[in-house]
């Protein structure tokens, strides 16, 4: 479960945070209450270009770096202009990621930091990396409490900067004695150290963290727009896969291995398979054209998409995080409502599997509570000109320019949202009425100037 993230210098994510971070828990008890963590179902809303997809892309990038190394992950980046154009704020500062994660198997919270830099040819490498375990200073019966700061401590598990790395000796994990760190020299800065440690370390926490992040799932399930004739060709290809490929336990990114997954589920446990298919078909509207065993060729592209999305929720070994970009696109409203209900059931059955999605759909919005929804805004901030250019600043001194920066705020923190939802006003209606807009539209009129006191307006005046 991703509790919080902080990203710096990555596309429009200048100095961007969402949810709970390690420093929020480690602060003194007298400090303000820590921010709420990301919830198991999390929806990102906001205008186009406000950074929602960028957050999903960044998380996908981190997962791929751990799986395939930095170079390959950078090649596969879903970013215009590739890795070289990622740094839009500061061409010389590193790109930084910080995550706070609660894995299913490790009782401590894990804070993972990764910073990237690039060589003269814009080829990326790992500049620094670290992982800390966070645990309550005093044991409580009810388990760790993330709603109060001050009762938390940390232990460094490993940290590296360029080629120098230190790793905690396994015996000293969570022990009261002075910990001993082993010093190592790294040969390869193109792979995060967690990729290696996560597979061989005796520190179970690192193995859990590596398992967790490398099993994140990023979805690009789109509707097949091809005309009917070539679609039946597409169906043929899918059927062929049924005969050839085996062992597909999970749906892949674009659900092109749909038939393989069905075949695997059938082989694994045919009774269970029938039960799962029943549950899926119950959520498909008017699905008389579908048979339980095989797709009928008359199924429409959007029905196929809905089927894939429902199959995703039937995964018997659900991934720890599903990143879904606009899952509702192309789906009629009753399909969206059915899928939203299936999503909620999935969440209740698999509390350790988190879903983070983006959408503009008010039917989806209506099925969530405000603390599960984050409102994004693209604000314009002042930024020193010289950070954007590799050249020396001019003799007159640095000038200030403007840059867009993404900001997200939890909807429960927006004025009147908590009271409105408590009285039964739906999130869809609140969206339409403007209650979910993270920042005022017009800065110079009196309208909406009252969105103060949420920290939104003050935050946008801070520079990093």
């Amino acid at each position: 479960m991703l509790l919080g993230l902080h990203i710096k210098n990555y596309a429009i994510l200048n100095n961007f945070s969402m949810g709970l971070l390690a420093q929020d828990l480690l602060r003194a008890p007298a400090a303000a209450a820590p921010p709420a963590p990301l919830t198991p179902l999390t929806l990102l809303i906001g205008p186009n270009g406000s950074g929602k997809s960028t957050v999903l892309n960044a998380l996908t990038f981190i997962s791929r770096m751990l799986k395939n190394g930095v170079a390959k992950a950078a090649e596969d980046l879903d970013q215009k202009g590739g890795f070289g154009s990622l740094r839009q704020y500061d061409l010389t500062a590193p790109i930084c990621f910080e995550l706070l994660i609660k894995t299913a198997d490790c009782p401590q919270l894990l804070a993972y930091n990764l910073a990237l830099d690039a060589d003269a040819e814009q080829r990326p490498f790992v500049l620094s990396e670290s992982c800390r375990a966070l645990y309550p200073a005093t044991e409580t019966d009810s388990g760790p409490d993330t709603s109060a700061a001050g009762n938390w401590q940390e232990q460094l598990l490993f940290s590296c900067r360029l080629n120098a790395c230190q790793i905690l000796q396994a015996l000293d994990y969570m022990s009261k004695s002075t910990p001993v760190y082993e010093e190592l020299t790294l040969n390869d800065l193109k792979r995060p150290v967690l990729s290696a440690l996560g597979q061989v370390s005796q520190l179970a926490a690192l193995r859990c963290l590596y398992q967790e992040i490398t099993h994140w799932y990023c979805s690009r399930i789109e509707i097949d727009q091809a005309p009917y004739n070539s679609r039946s060709g597409h169906q043929q290809v899918l059927r062929q896969q049924l005969q050839t490929g085996g062992g597909h336990h999970h749906l892949n990114e674009d659900a092109s291995n749909l038939f393989n997954v069905l075949a695997y589920l059938k082989k694994r446990d045919s009774q269970d398979y029938l039960k799962r298919m029943d549950q899926i078909l119950k959520c498909m509207p008017d699905s008389s054209s579908l048979s339980r065993d095989l797709f009928d060729e008359r199924i429409s592209g959007s029905e196929e998409k809905l089927f894939a999305l429902l199959l995703l929720l039937q995964d018997p070994a659900p991934r720890p995080l599903l990143l879904l970009e606009n899952p509702d696109i192309g789906l009629y409203h009753n399909m969206v409502e059915n899928w939203a209900a299936a999503l909620r059931t999935y969440n209740l059955n698999h509390p350790d599997s988190q879903v983070i999605m983006t959408s503009h759909n008010s039917f989806l919005l209506d099925s969530l509570s405000p603390k599960e929804v984050w409102s994004f805004r693209r604000q314009i901030i002042d930024w020193p000109q010289d950070k954007l250019s590799a050249e020396q600043p001019s003799v007159q001194g640095p000038t200030v320019t403007v840059r867009p920066a993404a900001k997200a705020i939890n909807c429960l923190a927006l004025p009147h949202v908590a009271a409105m939802t408590a009285e039964g006003v739906g999130l869809g209606a609140l969206l339409y009425a403007g209650f979910l807009d993270a920042l005022p539209d017009q800065q110079d009129s009196l309208e909406n100037g009252g969105v103060k006191g949420t920290g939104g307006v003050d935050e946008c005046r801070q520079h990093s």
Binding site: H416, A429, L446
Partner: protein
């Protein structure tokens, strides 16, 4: 306005039926508030149409409820919850009477306020038939927005009469093309109203708007604002 309802905040929440209503009220509020003591702000909360008041004012709104009157009891209760820890000074609800009796509607809303949220200061503005009646009441704004507007049609209009108000505005602005729009009906009509409101609203001056229904609303609103400011000054001086 009862003294118990006076608050230190300076923010106004404005509930309207639709986008064009929001534009009209915004056009009237902006100059009115700008003239006053600094610090007033407002937010326009639009809805998808007006709907009907629910039978049970204490019940939660229906799923997917979206009309102004459908959500009004819940919204008033929500604002009431937030009174003590927000900037909220006043809530305005502005709608048109359509083909209902405006006095009856006004009384019903006043009762609603008293029953579900007695501590919440609520100012009610009801335009006769359509909110466009308030636009038709500011000739200079109309001419500024649409210099070629047909003034003979405007001269024939009887302010605040039930006569097909938006059609008058349509004919004055669009001339013969208005008939096509009238035949088309909603939602095309809603979009056009929004365009007219967007052009005319910035030119409105509440002190010029001659509509009796508007003047009633505006006078009461002004006196509430005066009262709130006076109470604020007193608190400062003491």
């Amino acid at each position: 306005m009862p003294a118990a309802q006076l608050r230190p905040g300076r923010h106004i929440e404005v509930l309207v039926e639709d986008r064009s209503g929001g534009q009209i009220v915004s056009g009237l509020l902006q100059p009115a508030l700008a003239r006053r003591q600094a610090g007033w702000t407002y937010s326009i909360r639009r809805h998808r149409g007006v709907g009907h008041l629910p039978k049970d004012w204490q019940a939660r709104p229906g799923k997917l409820a979206a009309g102004l009157l459908q959500l009004l009891p819940a919204e008033l209760k929500a604002y009431r919850r937030d009174l003590d820890h927000s900037d909220l000074a006043l809530v305005l609800v502005v709608l048109d009477a359509d083909n209902h009796d405006s006095q009856e509607l006004f009384n019903t809303l006043k009762t609603l306020n008293r029953v579900v949220a007695p501590e919440l200061p609520l100012v009610i503005g009801i335009a006769v038939e359509e909110l466009e009646a308030w636009l038709l009441a500011d000739r200079r704004a109309l001419l500024e927005a649409y210099p070629d507007i047909d003034t003979t049609i405007l001269d024939q209009y009887e302010q605040d009469s039930v006569c097909g108000t938006w059609e008058v505005l349509a004919r004055a602005i669009l001339g013969s093309r208005a008939e096509q729009l009238i035949k088309l009906g909603y939602p095309a009509v809603g979009q056009q109203k929004s365009e007219w409101a967007a052009r005319i609203a910035p030119a409105l001056d509440p002190q010029r708007v001659k509509s009796p229904s508007f003047r009633r609303f505006y006078q009461y609103l002004t006196s509430c604002l005066d009262q709130i400011e006076a109470a604020g000054n007193e608190a400062e001086d003491s």
